[in-house]
């Protein structure tokens, strides 16, 4: 995102908030930040939004920052919303891109189940934007000198009222489907729930995650948290391997922004072949284990 911001013209700064994070500042420079503001503060250790709203609001005021962009995460969404309220600023979310159109910033927002892209703007500054995760690829830009400026955030008393009691992770072996670069997804064509084992093996070999269609989640074959589609999650991994998925539009809208879509299905008329980058007509029960084997062999 720093790279994208740099491409829009104007001064780009990164903000780094946390405890024991100062060492990371130079990395922001590699990706295009001319300045990195760093607040290294024990009170910023817990992933709580309000202290960060304080810190960023302070920076916006002191440095006259006109645009604040966030990459989607639960914490970022909380901060962006808090900041918008604090500064009485406009917030556009679910952005997939941004461009400078004769001096005006125009965001691209995906709407109506990803069926249309809407141009959105801001009436006032500061402008706040929240981007979908995976919207941009990181681009290294050798900008030369990056200026690192540390600052002391003034935190409001009410911002420190919340305290992190415990942080726990859901038990998962691999990455979640939102974070995964590779997703292996299964539909009703698997035939039976046990066959998800095949997909898990392949996902493991590729370092990816397993996703499912609504039909199989409904049938209780796989957990709801892995459902991709209109009423599940929207994902955009680098590689999406759809196994035994017909490609109804309800599924398509949740995964069509994947960079490369590979479909394995025995029905040559399945709609998924209309938008897959690579289509394999065949029996997934034979193909998937072979594929897993090949990936493993290549890796070792």
């Amino acid at each position: 995102m720093l790279g994208k911001a740099a491409s829009l013209g104007g001064d780009v700064a990164g903000v780094l908030l946390g405890s024991g994070v100062e060492g990371l500042a130079h990395q922001a420079g590699i990706y295009g930040a001319a300045t990195v503001y760093v607040a290294d503060d024990a009170r910023l250790e817990a992933p709580l939004p309000q202290p960060r709203v304080d810190a960023i609001a302070q920076l916006v005021g002191e440095q006259g920052i006109e645009t604040v962009l966030f990459a989607q995460s639960i914490l970022a969404a909380d901060i962006a919303a808090g900041l918008a309220a604090r500064l009485d600023a406009g917030l556009n979310w679910q952005l997939t891109d941004i461009a400078a159109d004769s001096g005006t910033l125009v965001g691209k927002q995906s709407a109506l189940g990803d069926s249309v892209v809407v141009d959105v703007g801001w009436k006032t500054t500061p402008r706040i934007g929240l981007f979908r995760s995976g919207a941009f690829d990181p681009v290294e830009r050798a900008t030369g000198q990056t200026q690192i400026q540390t600052f002391e955030p003034e935190l409001q008393e009410f911002s420190l009222a919340a305290e992190m009691v415990e942080q726990a992770h859901a038990e998962e072996s691999g990455p979640s489907i939102e974070d995964a670069n590779v997703i292996v997804a299964g539909g009703r064509g698997l035939g039976e729930p046990e066959k998800f084992g095949l997909l898990e093996e392949l996902a493991k070999a590729l370092g990816g995650a397993v996703a499912a269609t609504r039909a199989v989640v409904d049938a209780g074959w796989y957990p709801y948290s892995t459902q991709v589609g209109q009423t599940g999650k929207s994902v955009s991994p680098t590689l999406y391997i759809a196994c035994g998925i017909s490609g109804a539009i309800q599924h398509k809208v949740g995964m069509q922004s994947s960079k490369t879509i590979v479909a394995i299905n025995k029905d040559p008329n399945a709609p998924i072949f209309e938008f897959a980058d690579l289509g394999v007509v065949g029996d997934l029960h034979a193909i998937v284990p072979k594929l897993t084997e090949l990936v493993r062999a290549r890796k070792s």
Partner: protein
């Protein structure tokens, strides 16, 4: 084996939808008049009440902080409204008499010309419109847009319109209706609370008006509780419609009869199509078929797709694009199936949920508005000093007014016209003509109808006739549901009650009947019965399942389709 849907009743008793208030008195939400359903009937009622209360501030004051409230299960008013629609403007004129708002009613203009065709597979014969189908001077509308407009006017008149609020139970205590209970939100599939669980509330009111439209959930319970069943069972048709953007304007309204339906009485296929212009660049087209049909392979969704392949229709849609889709049942029992009374202590019934639909003229919206206005006036009278809405018979004047009005006079004239089509298209057509000419006096005999779920099932090779979806002119059900804007949360409890293990014929009937692909054939047991898999989140709440042996209940508020143009 002879299979009838009625022999596999759903696990649902009307009494489940009736309860006494349970919230502590201090936590109940108190309103003056509570209206269930933000459609033409409910909103006309709210608007009329606003007008009456404005002129009578002392009555408004006695009704408390919220004199009028409208609850609506859809995401917003209009989300669940779908019709053709050509509206007789008579009742809207009365509602907005003397107000500039009348000019603000969103319409696509008046009907200037019309054509009625009798279709065969390869040809169309233009016939003179029967008197019941003459539409000059009527307005073309999207009822979804009309609903949004009426909701704005109701709010401007002081009513609280509460969308995303499903009325699950009718509150009855001491022999009178006291209000409704809204549904819980945030329950998991098995009914256990999820993180965002929110309990429903008791909303108590001095008067409750049920204006739920087709297949009213609470209306059904009230009819059962207060013994209001009509002489004859209620019956329904299912309508599936699409809105198309087209390059060339259509200048007149079109109705067709005949193909793709089959004429013989044994199939029980009765219905027809409509094609209406919506301005210069859109058309609304749909197919309506009575749910007395018997063939397990019959599917109104796919009959509409088949219909679009006719040359007459292709020409209208050529170069166009489908932009909206939806489905809904239509109450068709008419005069003979009307409830015995349109009221009970504390309760008024209005609009389509009270059965006020005229099938031969294809109209009901003006009856909905008219009955909503009358319900408002009856409620208002009962709230005057010295009266009590709970007094038995307090609303008798509502019945008297309805019966004396054109609403029931019209319905009486055409009372047998729908039923005679059980005899097939030709005999039915001849009898219907006689009724039209004599204003219902001839033939001197009353015709009955069988409940939709009582019809025995047959199977012919009907499905072989449906065109294969090409994604341009013809579509599959899932693509259609997507266009309805339905984004219902998948992990909520199922709101559809059916027997889950039934004979194969019945399972196939449901699979084919449902325009939204809610039902799927599951595993077959050794005894030949099959499991029915249900995808409740596809449901657009058309209500066909209630007519054919199941029972639809309201899903979590805010679920279902999000119609805007239908």
């Amino acid at each position: 084996m002879t299979v009838r849907p009625v022999d596999y009743p759903p696990p649902f008793a009307p009494s489940e939808a009736i309860a006494a208030p349970t919230d502590p008195v201090s936590q109940r939400i108190e309103v003056g008049v509570l209206i269930v359903g933000a459609g033409p009937a409910g909103l006309a009622c709210a608007i009329r009440l606003g007008q009456l209360l404005e002129d009578s501030p002392e009555t408004a004051e006695r009704l408390g902080e919220v004199p009028v409230a409208v609850v609506e299960k859809g995401k917003s008013p209009g989300s669940h409204l779908l019709s053709g629609a050509v509206v007789n403007p008579r009742a809207l004129r009365r509602l907005f008499r003397g107000s500039p708002l009348l000019d603000g009613v969103p319409t696509y203009g008046e009907v200037h010309g019309e054509a009625v065709y009798l279709l065969t597979k390869g040809a169309s014969l233009r016939i003179p419109p029967p008197p019941t189908m003459r539409n000059h001077g009527n307005w073309i509308v999207s009822v979804s847009q009309l609903g949004r407009f009426l909701a704005e006017q109701a709010e401007a008149g002081g009513a609280a319109v509460l969308p995303e609020t499903d009325a699950q139970k009718l509150l009855v205590a001491d022999g009178r209706v006291q209000g409704i209970r809204t549904g819980d939100k945030g329950l998991g599939r098995d009914g256990t609370p999820l993180g965002a669980h929110e309990l429903g509330s008791d909303i108590v009111a001095k008067v409750t008006v049920l204006a739920e439209g087709t297949q009213g959930h609470l209306t059904g319970a009230a009819v059962d509780r207060f013994g209001l069943e009509g002489e004859q069972p209620q019956i329904w048709a299912l309508g599936v419609k699409e809105v198309w953007k087209v390059p060339r304007p259509l200048r007149h309204v079109v109705h067709t009869m005949g193909w793709p339906l089959r004429k013989r009485a044994r199939y029980g296929e009765f219905g027809g199509s409509f094609i209406y212009p919506m301005g210069d660049d859109m058309v609304s087209l749909g197919f309506v078929a009575g749910l007395e049909y018997r063939d397990v392979e019959f599917s109104v969704h796919d009959v509409l797709q088949e219909f679009k392949t006719h040359r007459l229709v292709r020409k209208i849609l050529a170069g166009g694009e489908r932009i909206a889709w939806g489905a809904k049942t239509i109450t068709e029992g008419g005069f003979h199936a009307l409830p015995k009374r349109f009221h009970a202590p504390g309760l008024l019934l209005a609009g389509e949920s009270a059965g006020l639909v005229n099938v031969p003229t294809l109209k009901g919206i003006h009856y909905a508005v008219e009955s909503g206005i009358m319900a408002a006036e009856a409620a208002f009278r009962s709230l005057q000093r010295g009266e009590s809405p709970a007094r038995p018979g307090a609303f008798a004047s509502y019945d008297d007014e309805l019966r004396a009005s054109y609403v029931l006079r019209d319905l009486r004239e055409v009372r047998n016209m729908r039923q005679v089509f059980d005899k097939g298209f030709l005999v039915g057509g001849a009898l219907a003509s006689a009724m039209t000419v004599t204003k219902g006096k001839l033939p001197p005999k009353e015709f009955g109808s069988e409940a939709n779920a009582d019809r025995t099932l047959i199977r012919t090779d009907r499905a072989a006739r449906y065109p294969k979806p090409d994604g341009k002119l013809t579509f599959d059900k899932l693509s259609s549901v997507f266009l309805s804007g339905n984004r219902t949360r998948d992990d909520q409890p199922s709101h559809i009650r059916i027997q889950r293990r039934v004979p194969r014929e019945l399972a196939e009937l449901w699979v084919n009947m449902c325009p939204a692909q809610v039902y799927e054939l599951g595993a077959e047991d050794d005894d030949g019965t099959v499991h029915v898999d249900v995808n409740p989140s596809n449901c657009v709440q058309c209500g066909a399942i209630t007519a054919k042996g199941g029972r639809l209940t309201p899903p979590e508020g805010g679920s279902g389709p999000e119609y805007t143009l239908t």
